[in-house]
Amino acid sequence: MIAELVSLLVVFVLAMFVGFEVITKVPATLHTPLMSGSNAISGITIIGALIVAGRGDSRVTSVLGLIAVIFAMINVVGGFMVTDRMLEMFKKKPEEKRS
């Protein structure tokens, strides 16, 4: 059991470094979409919400699971869609290429 936890910790730390590397390259002009987009990614907790809600082993946990699924889905759908809306506006061709 403790071995699982440790290997998850390894994954966590390495993923943080990957995150730092990738995110530092995002230009300031895209910081708002970065935030809403990464926010949608944190909606990954939907996986846990689905497992909990789908287990149906007690009334309390089912209700908690249901709310968790709703919250996480708002996060996922709202996050990705609003980011798409913003990035669509950024897509317009610049009039001149920045050197």
Binding site: L5, T24, V26, N39, I46, A53, V69, V76, L87
Partner: protein, 464 residues
């Protein structure tokens, strides 16, 4: 199916998230990157629904449908000026969901978490609830502040830090209690309540213009909460994705703090901007005087300039003047005037706030210059239009060691030939300090609502 194979789907999802974030490094590829992320999420959701043996589909389907609909409506209807509130709200939902998953896992009679579980598992539950609940309530407060449903100013009271410190200590004690005695289910409710209160009380003392840092930090928390929940349910997908978001939020918080020349601790505990000197319109402070300009004269200056730089701030968002500004820029460009935009990293209420607004008004992104690009250009700039920005253009930050914003990197608009400040009144900015830029001989004040003023400028430029 062997549960180990599900992990391959989560791995695929994580890879798509990383590639998607990588594609955010350029506005040209960003949209496809975001869509890759969405595909990754879809894969993760479908794999979970199909392969984890869901027994009770009713709750799952109701949840998916209701959540998606709410998310859809929010994403479609939110105004670009309200994006900070939107992101704060989404952060909150993410954090809340993570806390709820951990809670349900702890209370579930069939999971291997909770009573009888080894201490380190219950420790992860405690941390997950702690971070998730703080994210949830903290984000709600940030949302209310940004909407101005509650005051956007820093709320302070005596012994605030001591009380918050005690609250944190109590919360951590509750976690220890739960780890030692997982049977005490009531302690779980206490922990959730304490963490919820901690989220509220730690965001309340943070003022409006520090919101970029707070939102970034809450963004980071929402990722950390998801990762913590990953530890609880032993799921690498959550851990990797949560860590990515955690890193992203931390980087943004750091960038924002650097742009204000303040430490994170100072932003979180400094209660910056709780005091405001009240100065009515038309009243100069002491013997200092300022000069007003008419719309007509300002339009003439603009029309005969070679280079005009627009320095927008939160006031632009409040007045929703971005489309009018773009219209004015178009007119000027037709007359052969070069128009650029100077974006300070903390202009607005969240990182990149101004860029999104101007992008909405179809300003090409290569005209948006960040501080380091535009500062050397002010010396050859004829007119700077400061629209709803204040502290980020205050020259006191450069030389006045007594100023609370001393040392903060600013837009050097005062080096331009003429500065026109569009402002509603002489009221000081968020930092609650007077702006000496307004009294410079080369500065002209143009009072009124930014949108009306720019509209009038558009009309006047047409007449020039």
């Amino acid at each position: 199916m062997n549960p180990a194979f599900i992990k391959l789907f989560y791995l695929l999802a994580a890879v798509l998230f990383i590639v998607g974030l990588k594609r955010l490094s350029s506005p040209v590829t960003a949209r496809s990157g975001n869509r890759l992320g969405a595909v990754g999420m879809l894969i993760a959701i479908v794999a979970t629904a199909v392969f984890t043996g869901i027994l009770s589909w009713t709750m799952v389907i109701i949840g998916l449908v209701v959540g998606s609909l709410i998310g859809l409506v929010l994403a479609r209807t939110v105004k670009m000026t309200a994006m900070p509130e939107m992101v704060a709200l989404l952060n909150g939902f993410g954090g809340g969901a993570s806390a709820l998953v951990a809670a349900a896992e702890f209370l579930s009679p069939t999971s291997d978490v909770g009573v009888g579980a080894p201490f380190h598992i219950n420790l992860t539950v405690g941390l997950s609830v702690l971070v998730g609940a703080i994210t949830f309530s903290g984000s709600l407060v940030a949302f209310l502040k940004l909407r101005e449903w509650i005051t956007g100013r820093a709320v302070t009271y005596p012994l605030q830090k001591t009380l918050n410190g005690l609250l944190l200590a109590a919360t951590l004690s509750a976690i220890v209690w739960l780890v030692v005695q997982p049977e005490a289910g009531w302690m779980f409710a206490v922990l959730a309540g304490l963490a919820f209160a901690l989220g509220i009380l730690s965001v309340i003392p943070i003022g409006g213009a520090d919101m970029p840092v707070v939102i970034s930090l809450l963004n980071s928390y929402s990722g950390i909460a998801a990762a913590m929940t990953g530890f609880v349910i032993n799921n690498e997908g959550l851990v990797v994705s949560g860590a990515l978001v955690g890193a992203s939020g931390l980087i943004l918080s750091h960038i924002m703090c650097k742009a204000m020349n303040r430490s994170l601790a100072n932003v979180l505990f400094g209660a910056f901007g709780s005091q405001v000197a009240q100065i009515g319109p038309g009243k100069a402070i002491g013997d200092k005087t300022y000069r007003e300009v008419t719309h007509e004269d300002c339009a003439t200056m603009l029309a005969y300039a070679r280079l005009v730089v627009v320095a927008p701030g939160y006031g632009l968002a409040v007045a929703q003047a971005q489309h009018e500004v773009r219209e004015l820029a178009d007119l000027l460009e037709k007359r052969g005037v070069e128009v650029k935009y100077a974006i300070h990293p903390v202009a607005g209420r969240m990182p990149g706030h101004m860029n999104v607004l101007l992008a909405e008004a179809n300003v090409p992104y290569d005209k948006l210059n960040d501080m380091d690009q535009i500062n050397p250009e002010f010396e050859r700039t004829d007119v700077v239009l400061v629209i709803g920005a204040n502290d980020v253009v205050n020259p006191a930050a450069r030389h006045d060691q007594a100023s609370p914003i001393y040392g903060m990197p600013i837009l050097d608009v005062d080096k331009a030939q003429t500065v026109v400040v569009l402002k509603r009144s002489m009221r000081p900015g968020f930092a609650g300090i007077d702006n000496e830029l307004f009294y410079e001989p080369r500065t002209r004040m143009l009072f009124g609502d930014a949108r009306d003023s720019v509209k009038k400028l558009v009309a006047e430029v047409k007449n020039v």
